[in-house]
């Protein structure tokens, strides 16, 4: 009887006995993510489930990521198969209005320049010593687009998924702090004061319906490996613009997006086990992610300066900073900065065009990257 009680008590306190310093640190990190999401409002839809997932997976002996663990099921079937980020893309497509982009299509080029940070960071990551595919996964944080970063890192470097996702979502919410100093540094007072004219080029309903279909076909033919990313984004947009599938549109932007966001967040949190997350590599990933978004902003603004030069001062280079995928946050940052220097300057609509270009641009950049990797024989079919 006595030995049975002792054994029972041992079983009860086994968790406490197995609680290591790594677990404790990760429990604090998980709680910190919850704090940032709940109290600071930093991407709460993702940081709350990620933070909670990180707590769950670091409870000693709970085994949630063991072969029969419930988080392992979602991770294997939703993240490793890349289904979750793709379902999120349908929701994003259903929520996104590409009209500002269609009204002023030349601005879409800023959405390309705003992705250059990805490729520059790739070189930096390789210089630091990251493995080729790990460097790709880290660099894609510069897409400033959570689902794209998750899609690419789950494909090439699942062991970095936690760090890449945390970096992608945290920095997206920190765009209002990261971008302004870079914008000021790279522009002159005169450039920041440029007032851009109103672009009034309304778009027909037919164009808005045909746009997602044509973009899917054209972009997928040019970068076939990115078809899942482009296709799901544009499918969502077609549901929105067709106007005949209100229930599907509503499901894509509400039920599907909400359920998948919850499961995706938990699954990402579940990758943050102490022995995998508490490494110097994680800090490097976080630092490179910040650099990537800074470089995106810098190249976007520099490209804006080039467009300013070519149009003889008709384009305010500040809108180049909106060529990233953080929508509509980056466009708001541009509007606020522009207003600081010229109260008569209303850059919001132009910045929204660039920002919509950045949304398409991030997906295209990832698609191009995947196709080039396939072409070089680095990844298989």
């Amino acid at each position: 009887m006595e030995s049975a009680i002792v054994s029972g008590l041992q079983g009860l306190f086994e968790g406490v006995a197995n609680l290591g310093a790594g677990h404790a640190i990760m429990l604090v990190i998980g709680s910190l993510l919850l704090y940032l999401g709940i109290s600071k409002g930093y991407e709460p839809l993702l940081l709350v489930p990620i933070g909670f997932g990180a707590i769950l997976v670091n409870i000693p002996l709970a085994g949630l990521m063991d072969n029969d663990g419930f988080l392992r099921f979602f991770y294997d079937n939703g993240v490793l198969t890349e289904v979750f980020p793709l379902l999120i893309f349908i929701g994003i497509g259903a929520m996104t209005d590409f009209q500002p982009l269609m009204e002023n299509p030349k601005i879409i080029l800023l959405g390309a320049a705003g992705q250059f940070g990805i490729f520059l960071t790739l070189l930096l990551a390789l210089a630091i010593g990251f493995d080729k595919l790990d460097a790709v996964a880290v660099a894609v944080i510069g897409a400033c687009d959570g689902p794209t970063a998750i899609y690419v890192s789950s494909k090439f470097a699942p062991h970095l998924l936690g760090a890449v996702s945390i970096a992608a979502y945290s920095y997206m919410s920190l765009v209002p702090l990261i971008q302004p100093p870079i914008m000021r540094l790279l522009t002159t007072d005169k450039e920041r004061k440029i007032v851009m004219g109103i672009v009034k080029q309304p778009v027909s309903k037919t164009t808005k319906i045909v746009f997602p279909v044509v973009v899917t076909i054209a972009a997928s033919i040019l970068a076939p490996k990115g078809t899942p990313l482009i296709g799901t984004l544009m499918l969502g947009n077609l549901l929105r613009e067709s106007g005949v599938v209100a229930r599907l549109k509503s499901a894509a932007e509400n039920e599907i997006a909400n359920i998948v966001t919850l499961l995706l967040g938990l699954s990402i949190g579940a990758t943050m086990e102490a022995d995998k997350f508490l490494r110097g590599e994680t800090l490097l990933v976080l630092a490179l992610g910040l650099i990537a978004i800074g470089l995106d902003t810098a190249v976007g603004v520099l490209f804006g300066k080039l467009m300013c030069l070519m149009t003889r001062g008709k384009i305010n280079p500040l809108i180049g900073a909106a060529g990233i995928s953080a929508f509509p946050m980056a466009a708001r940052v541009v509007q606020v900065e522009g207003q600081k220097y010229n109260k008569k300057s209303y850059l919001l609509m132009h910045a929204m065009s660039a920002n919509a270009g950045g949304q398409v641009g991030s997906v295209i950049a990832a698609a191009v990257m995947l196709s080039v990797l396939k072409g070089m024989g680095i990844v298989g079919g």
Binding site: L123, T206, A218
Partner: protein, 48 residues
């Protein structure tokens, strides 16, 4: 393939390719606007 050949190839083709694809898309949008021009009654149907 050595690391730097990989890095520079992916970076240069990646940046060029992204710019090229988006430039093509901007042409596609311009073409779509020419084929399906906006008519004022569109706005009424869009609101509906």
């Amino acid at each position: 393939m050595d690391t730097w050949t990989f890095g520079w190839t992916l970076a240069l083709i990646g940046m060029g390719g992204t710019m090229l694809v988006l430039w093509c898309l901007s042409l596609v949008v311009l073409l779509l606007k020419k084929i399906f021009p906006y008519r004022p009654d569109d706005s009424a149907s869009q609101k509906g």
